[in-house]
Amino acid sequence: MTLQQLFALSPILIVGLTVVTVMLTIAIKRHHKWTATISMAGLSLALVPLWVHCWLPGSSAFTLPQTVTPLLRIENYACFYMAMILIAALATTTLSRRYMEGYQGNREELYLLLLLSTLGGLVLVASCHFASFFIGLELLSVPMYGMAAYLVKERRSLEAGMKYLVLSAVASAFIVFGMALVYSQTGTLMFSEIGASVANVADDERVVMILGGAMLLIGIGFKLSLAPFHLWAPDVYEGAPAPVTSFLATASKIAVFALLLRYFVEARAYQYGVLVNILSVLAILSIIIGNVLALQQQDLKRLLAYSSIAHFGYMLVALIASGALAVEAIGIYLLTYAVTTLAAFGVITLMSSPYKHHDAEILFDYRGLFWKHPYLAAILTLALLSLAGIPLTAGFIGKFYVLGAGVDKRLWMLLAAVVLGSAVGLYYYLRAMVQLYLRQRWVAPFSAPSDWARGAGGGMLILLTLLMLALGVYPGPFIMLVQAAGLGGK
């Protein structure tokens, strides 16, 4: 392994080292603040090589792309998504620190699990081989079972953990089976070689390839909670502690989608009409089911779960469009989605604490928030507007790109679904938003502390908000970043 490869691999290595360090410090002495601080430091440190690469491209220490063993391929694309996952993990860590302070049981292992899961995500976005794909996916999901069920004494948290465990295991089984079928026809596990040997597969054997591809899609559909594989999402979102939900909704889904996009492009899955048709059906179903079921939700976390189903439906539209513009569109959309979702869950986290019986999640809990905490409510308003795709917020740029990718390839049916879905979606975003401004309740069971902005979590939330606005108002630099992170060799 050359030095350059080592340097390219450094984000993964640093996070791995942090895992070990955190484990050891917990073994030596339990200390919540230290554990959290070490985790934050490790995650920030892992970001450094990515920054270096971003600011000093072509510096001798860090030349990309690097293929480290046949399993991992680290190029701009992987770096971009690694940075996104690391930032999401960092946000989750800072938010958890405040949230967990009130928890009575062992608080420290949450960070360990979070770091492990992050490590899995990093491996996943860099993988170009079925083996690393599977390792990364499992490393991403398995710690998540523990995180979802972290508040074991809460019935709903436990239920969320169990549900996620069972369904995730089933999904993994599908994925392994799909891999086996694809392997049986191509004789290779490398994405690019699969793509190259597609042409050699005889017509009557294509059925097996397509079946394999479909099984992979089912598994990934579970992980991304695409309809009709979405049934776990609302319950898990609702039951898991708020910071964990935010990690699940962002880092884990981003990693899986980035992998899907890479597989789609490198293994040339877009050449199979049948698969593209299946994807179209999944996209339309996700958009419809996500938006329609969100309409009557009284629970903000469930609402966000359904809304995320719809958002991944929109992203599938860009995926189906395929091509350079689509890769860019997905990058932008994932970025805006991550920032927005983290901000929304950030507000929920600041409002809640495991002291209480459950998180502040019923819409009614947020009634009149604006008149008490105007800035916190403004942040949530912005996040909801951004999810709804209103201009000058991040979400609009994402939606704009998706529509652009669709128009470019003339996918009128899918575009109609996006437009209709967004129109329906407005209803529940507005319904949630207007609650913040109605007259305040007499007794508010939940309230953020008045100094919410001071801690690390509050600071992170403000940063996310600024990012959300910057993305919406002046997206130029971000677009350049995403453009640089395109998938080469197409």
């Binding site: 209103i390 201009p391 529509l403 128009v407 407005l426 207007v434 350049m480 453009q483």
Partner: protein, 518 residues
């Protein structure tokens, strides 16, 4: 730079209003008044200093023309988006209307709004800022952004300060309906904008959202028609054209007075502006094909709005339906496309903005005193006020098209300009004028005449209210008696539009006809 200030003034003023609330509500209101006065002053300055004999569209569809004032900086280079603002006669007049009605809207909520005054004015100012942005944007991306962004503060205006009138579905329902209708149709327009931009970039290799570049997009007739339809849907919802109008009466009946004034006076006009600025020039051929359908839709709207208005018991719903009827005239005039009709549209936009705004203010003033919008609970009000009824009579007569007032001139020019090309449309639309007399008079009769149902205990208009309404009366009379300055400002834009929309068409007498018309 001046244009940028025109845009920034309401945005900054709004923020000031919000933050200054801690020093008392009086200050907030005066800051809002000051902001609108600044915008008004800027507009007047632009009017006096600018040369409005230029038009971007040029004479024969070439790019010879230019904007009177322009401001443009790159914004998102990757997408070819520029932050481009441009002003010509058409935008200038509409911005003037916005500033005037903004001022009036602040004045008429002086006593009505008592809760969260700072936040209210933030929303009001930002709505107006968004509208001004729509009138200034010359980059389609920017235009779309303003088009959507102005909805958010308007949503809050209705949802938070609206009335929950008995029998209605509530103000949040109305606000949400308004938002969903306009936003969904806006997305259709966004798809159309993108399609237009991609067609342009495929033909020329340049990715741009610039209005003047997109004017020369080569398109097949079929493509042009479909893209045109995407734009039309958005404008038709906002105007509103009849099958898509159902959000308007709900929004109006629940909105606070200032909300109604801005909604009827300015927001609806953004759709008319969109038709004039974007739809006709960008898609002249498809529009010509589509014109008969659009005009008959307009005629249907005229009659339907009038008939519905006649049947209303809620006074604000009644006025809302009259808006639908009057907007039908605008739709007819726009698609007639002759110089006369287009100038008529201009006058009608201004006159209707003022007269409907005034009627909504009167509704608000009645509500403050009687606490109802229900016509069945009114009656005999003439005896109980001394100033309010005659003023109401004035604006009702304006709305029914009394000669000498602005609305008459607008409708008359539109009908005159339409007659040559489309006599049957004109004949039926003229019938709508009779219907408007019917609903206007029934409004007066039900509200003000008959037996007084209470004593002489109602407070009459105070000086602020009289001044507000008096200003509007003066403008309407000016529009009706001496519209020449206005027509001069908008002539170049309209002429250019007409030559582009109907090159060598059936028209016409041109500008001399306009001079004689009053």
């Amino acid at each position: 730079m001046m244009l940028l200030w025109l845009l920034l003034a309401p945005l900054i003023g709004g923020l000031l209003c919000w933050q200054l609330e801690r020093f008392g509500t009086k200050l907030v209101r005066w800051v809002a008044v000051g902001t609108m006065l600044i915008v008004l002053a800027l507009t007047v300055e632009l009017w006096l200093s600018g040369d409005y004999s230029l038009a971007l569209l040029g004479s024969a569809g070439d790019a010879a023309g230019r904007w009177t004032v322009q401001f443009s900086v790159p914004w998102i280079p990757r997408l070819g988006v520029r932050f481009g603002l441009g002003l010509d006669g058409l935008s200038l007049l509409l911005i003037g209307l916005t500033a005037l009605l903004g001022l009036i809207a602040v004045a008429c909520s002086w006593r009505e709004i008592t809760r969260h005054v700072g936040f209210f004015h933030l929303n009001l100012m930002w709505t107006l800022g968004g509208v001004i942005g729509v009138f200034l944007a010359i980059d389609l991306f920017l235009f779309f952004i303003f088009w959507e962004v102005m909805l958010v503060p308007m949503f809050f205006l209705i949802a938070l300060w609206g009335h929950n009138i008995p029998g209605g579905n509530g103000r949040i329902y109305a606000a949400t309906k308004f938002f969903i209708f306009t936003q969904a149709s806006g997305l259709v327009m966004l798809v159309a904008i993108l399609a237009l931009v991609f067609v342009h970039s495929q033909a020329t290799g340049i990715l741009t959202f610039s209005y003047s570049a997109l004017l020369h997009t080569p398109m097949t007739a079929r493509t042009e028609f479909w893209i045109m339809l995407g734009f039309f849907v958005a404008f038709a919802v906002k105007l509103p054209v009849v099958p898509l109008h159902s959000w308007l009466p709900d929004a109006h009946s629940q909105a606070p007075t200032a909300g109604s004034v801005v909604l009827a006076g300015v927001l609806l006009k953004t759709a008319a502006y969109g038709l004039l600025r974007f739809l006709l020039p960008l898609f002249p051929h498809a529009s010509a094909v589509f014109a008969p359908i659009a005009m008959w839709l307009g005629v249907f709207g005229i009659v339907y709005g009038a008939v519905c208005a006649f049947g209303q018991n809620d006074i604000k719903r009644l006025v809302a339906y009259t808006s639908i009827s009057h907007m039908g005239f605008i739709l007819v005039g726009v698609y007639a496309g002759t110089q006369l009709a287009l100038q008529g549209v201009m006058i009608q936009i201004l006159a209707h903005g003022i007269s409907s705004g005034a009627l909504f203010i009167l509704c608000g003033e009645l509500y403050e005193r009687l606490h109802t919008h229900d016509l069945r609970k009114m009656g005999g009000l003439w005896a109980r006020f001394s100033y309010l009824p005659p003023i109401a009579l004035f604006f009702t007569l304006a709305s029914l098209g009394l000669p000498g007032l602005g609305n008459f001139l607008g409708e008359f020019l539109i009908l005159l300009g339409t007659f040559n090309g489309h006599p049957s449309v004109t004949v039926v639309a003229t019938g709508g004028l009779i219907l408007s007399a019917v609903y206007s008079l029934i409004l007066m009769q039900r509200a003000f005449q008959g037996k007084p149902s209470g004593g002489n205990d109602l407070q009459d208009l105070n000086p602020r209210e009289i001044a507000t309404l008096g200003t509007l009366m003066a403008f309407l009379i000016w529009l009706g008696l001496y519209p020449q300055p206005i027509l001069d400002v908008s002539r170049a834009s309209m002429q250019a539009l007409q030559t582009r929309y109907a090159p060598g068409g059936v028209e016409t007498r041109g500008s001399p006809g306009v001079r004689e018309a009053p």
